[in-house]
């Protein structure tokens, strides 16, 4: 069999295909996005971007009810959105297998928090498997679907940023072909009216008891005996780090994160002298083991906050005396990297979001922002954001601030994909209650931050088909917003006027700012250039935070400040610097000649 390098996300997709999954749904979110992108490459699986995670999970649940194996994928905070669906599907169970792939983001590489979603498995009474590498990711998808059918439950598969985005070797298999399982109407099972749901709660608790028994026997929970002075319970990527730092120790490797195996843990604890848990984020296993009245250590040694790395595991072990010696020469030549110029992510050169935040700064408005590329408007030098919480939160928070003080000049900024994800219900509430909120939709017709996925306002599906494009302006009008304007991001004057009028309107107002994403399209001008003799180094153009604008070596004679320089390799010809320069010291790029 062929052995290839695959990311965990590619391996999940491959596992879904091999296991005969026929319906796969998701809303994009780092680090889970590539799962559906890769599933979409297989012709024999229906794959879609749903408008949000709850819709994705409801859809996958429906497919499983109807008898086809299904998968829904989302990032950890996406499961918050989909949590209602998780909880009812735990009660109803499935018919064909359903795997819910959840990707946590320890270390907050691309998220607003680092919640540990193992808690959801316990909370919703749903089994959870947790792979340590791509091979396990693939085989655990298959196992999840089998358990789902066997125990009549959705199964959570917990990925993390490191298992999703690491590439490790995978042995490929063939696609399993499965018969559709017949759907039989069964109100007692699928209709969650209170009287019926109460009975299902009994079913769920009985199922959990059976799953506890399964956890004692399942192969993916295994003891690997080494030296007896140290016994380590671990799972997921933390297991690999522990293996690296304590190669001689004994291990209880838990491929099943929930439910946990009481007897197996007791046996393992009895066979080692010192028991520790190495786990990322919450002391989930540790507290459960302590609840069994077993002596165990974990977060007293290893950090609870931030992702683990082999360095952090080793340094924590050294500090606590668990390891003795120097380890690798980690601290011997620590260079002073703190003083280096930072290179945080930035809005791309030419990105229309920059024009919006420049204008909002000029108008001195309070900005309630949202999740997406435009969150980068919060970073220096723009600093043009007051609040960011979660997908779709901008509109509600903006309404609340306005209601607390009707004189407050604030706006919600929300991207087009986020607007369709969870902005619409908030806007409906604004119209219903006549809340004078201003919503600026930053419409670049793509889901930018996660790598340019389609959405209901993009006109293109995951499989690349053209489809109906829902216009943010039209849908706002249809919902009863009377003040709706559309402006181009490059029309600074028009945008400023529209935003002023919207915030003065005294009623719900929507300003749709259209722009093109630099990954999808381009501006129609060649690079701009600084006219050195006219530039006096005033720094105004620096303040738009464009990565193409840097300091030149040349100083202005009078001010002794460095003049600006535009890197022609990076400038894409948007012209915002030209518009903001007060001395006309920037030369417009020539119009692009279109080669056809």
């Amino acid at each position: 069999m062929e052995r290839v390098l695959m990311s965990g996300n590619e391996a999940v997709a491959r596992g879904a295909w091999e296991s005969g999954v026929e319906v796969a749904t998701a809303y994009p979110g780092t680090p889970s996005t590539e799962i559906l992108q890769n599933i979409a490459l297989y012709d024999d699986v229906y794959a879609e971007w749903s408008s949000n995670e709850k819709v994705a999970l409801d859809t996958a649940i429906g497919a499983a009810y109807a008898g086809k194996r299904a998968l829904a994928a989302m990032k950890h905070v996406g499961l918050n959105v989909a949590s209602e669906a998780l909880f009812y599907s735990s009660y109803t169970g499935v018919n064909a297998g359903l795997v819910i792939v959840n990707a946590d983001d320890p270390g907050l590489h691309s998220s607003q928090n680092e919640q540990d979603n193992r808690q959801y498995a316990r909370f919703a009474r749903v089994p959870m498997l947790e792979p340590s590498d791509s091979q396990e990711a693939k085989s655990f998808v298959k196992l999840s679907l089998e358990l789902s059918e066997q125990y009549d439950t959705p199964v959570l598969l917990r990925m993390t940023t490191r298992t999703s985005h690491s590439k490790t070797a995978v042995t490929l298999g063939e696609r399993q072909s499965l018969e559709k399982r017949p759907y039989l109407k069964d109100m007692a099972k699928y209709v969650m009216l209170p009287a019926l749901a109460r009975n299902r709660h009994d079913v769920v608790e009985a199922r959990t008891a059976q799953l506890r028994q399964l956890a004692e026997e399942i192969e993916i929970n295994r003891i690997e005996m080494g030296e007896r002075w140290l016994g380590i319970i671990s799972g997921g990527i933390a297991y690999e780090y522990a293996r690296e730092v304590f190669p001689e120790a004994s291990y209880l490797k838990l491929g099943m994160a929930w439910p946990l195996p009481e007897k197996l843990i007791r046996d393992f604890a009895a066979s080692v002298e010192r028991l520790i848990v190495v786990e990322e984020l919450d002391p989930f296993i540790e507290e459960w083991v302590r609840g069994l009245d077993i002596k165990v250590e974990g977060k007293s040694i290893f950090p609870l906050v931030d992702e683990l790395t082999p360095d952090r595991v080793r340094n924590a072990a050294l500090r606590s005396g668990l390891l003795v010696g120097n380890g690798p020469p980690t601290d011997r030549h620590q260079p002073d990297t703190d003083s280096l110029p930072l290179r945080p992510p930035v809005l791309c050169a030419g990105c229309g979001h920059r024009d919006v935040y420049w204008t909002l700064n000029k108008l001195k408005l309070t900005v309630n922002s949202d999740i997406g590329c435009y969150a980068l408007g919060a970073l220096p030098p723009l600093n043009a954001t007051d609040t960011i919480g979660a997908m779709g939160a901008s509109i509600g928070v903006a309404m609340g601030m306005r209601l607390a003080d009707l004189e407050y000049k604030n706006v919600a900024t929300i991207g087009d994909s986020t607007f369709f994800h969870s902005g619409l219900p908030a806007l409906a509430s604004a119209v219903y209650n006549r809340t004078p909120v201003t919503v600026i939709v930053l419409d670049n017709r793509t889901t930018g931050m996660t790598g340019h996925q389609g959405h209901p306002g993009s006109g293109q599906t995951l499989s690349g088909r053209r489809t109906e494009l829902i216009s943010a302006a039209e849908v706002s009008r249809a919902m009863g917003v009377r003040y709706v304007t559309e402006v181009d991001a490059r029309d600074l004057k028009g945008m400023e006027k529209a935003i002023r009028e919207a915030t003065d309107a005294g009623e719900p107002a929507v300003v749709v700012v259209r722009s093109v994403c630099m990954f999808e399209s381009q501006h129609n001008r060649e690079p701009y250039a600084v006219i050195a003799e006219d530039c006096n180094g005033c720094t105004l153009c620096f303040r738009i935070g464009c990565p193409a604008i840097t300091k030149s070596e040349e100083l202005d004679e009078k001010t002794q400040r460095p003049k600006a320089r535009i890197d022609p390799a990076m400038c894409v010809g948007c012209g915002l610097c030209f518009d903001v320069c007060a001395r006309q010291a920037i030369e417009e790029g020539a119009e692009k000649v279109l080669v056809t």
């Binding site: 590489h109 691309s110 985005h165 290179r343 945080p344």
Partner: protein
């Protein structure tokens, strides 16, 4: 067998992840186990990017520990310095002689370090510093995207893996029409004519 550890660094959009794919896949190609790890998403928007690759008979962690990288390959001068603490004393550092000042340097608070500052920092750690004019070579070949192949060629010149092994992986990762130019870039990197200083 001790693992061979690589750290690749660059700026989002430079192709660091593709280059690390080639290194990881070459490990598998020569019969070893290989793992690699990096972070996608927000970190790629023009931000600093780091990718880890490890080769061994059996690799556990996909992440290298600080002070253990045998090879540090940087696609940008400042970014080489940012991850310097991963390099093992005596390890090899391969740096593309390219300067890409981040926006934080336009304000007086942060200064882009000089070549001399960067190189002397490395000389305290190792005498194996290869400064490569990868972009210059790529420009001469009329395709800036092959700068990565120049760096992989340079890496191949200091490792005991045959050029055929590297090339079979490298050329499998680019479209057929770009295979020749990537091969040319690889050998330009490998034969060392690019060396600016060492």
């Amino acid at each position: 067998m001790n693992p061979t550890n690589f750290v690749l660094a660059g700026v989002g959009g430079q192709g660091t992840i593709l280059a690390s794919d080639v290194v990881a896949q070459t490990g598998l190609h020569i019969g070893l186990d290989a793992k690699k790890s990096e972070v996608h998403g927000m970190a790629q928007r023009g931000g600093a990017v780091i990718s880890h690759v490890r080769w061994a008979e059996n690799v556990a962690s996909p992440l290298c520990e600080k002070g253990t990288a045998d090879y540090l390959i940087a696609q940008e001068m400042l970014e080489s310095l940012r991850w310097m603490d991963f390099l093992r004393p005596g390890g090899t550092v391969i740096i593309s002689h390219q300067h890409w000042p981040p926006t934080s340097t336009v304000f007086a608070t942060a200064t882009y370090p000089s070549d001399e500052e960067i190189l002397s920092a490395y000389r305290k750690l190792t005498d194996k510093v290869l400064l490569v004019d990868a972009v210059g070579i790529a420009d001469r070949l009329n395709n800036r995207r092959v700068a990565n192949s120049v760096l992989i060629g340079a890496l191949s010149s200091v490792m005991d893996v045959s050029p055929e092994d590297w090339l079979s992986v490298l050329t499998s990762r680019v479209p057929v029409r770009h295979q020749d130019i990537n091969r040319e870039a690889f050998f330009a990197g490998r034969d060392g004519q690019w060396l600016l200083k060492s």
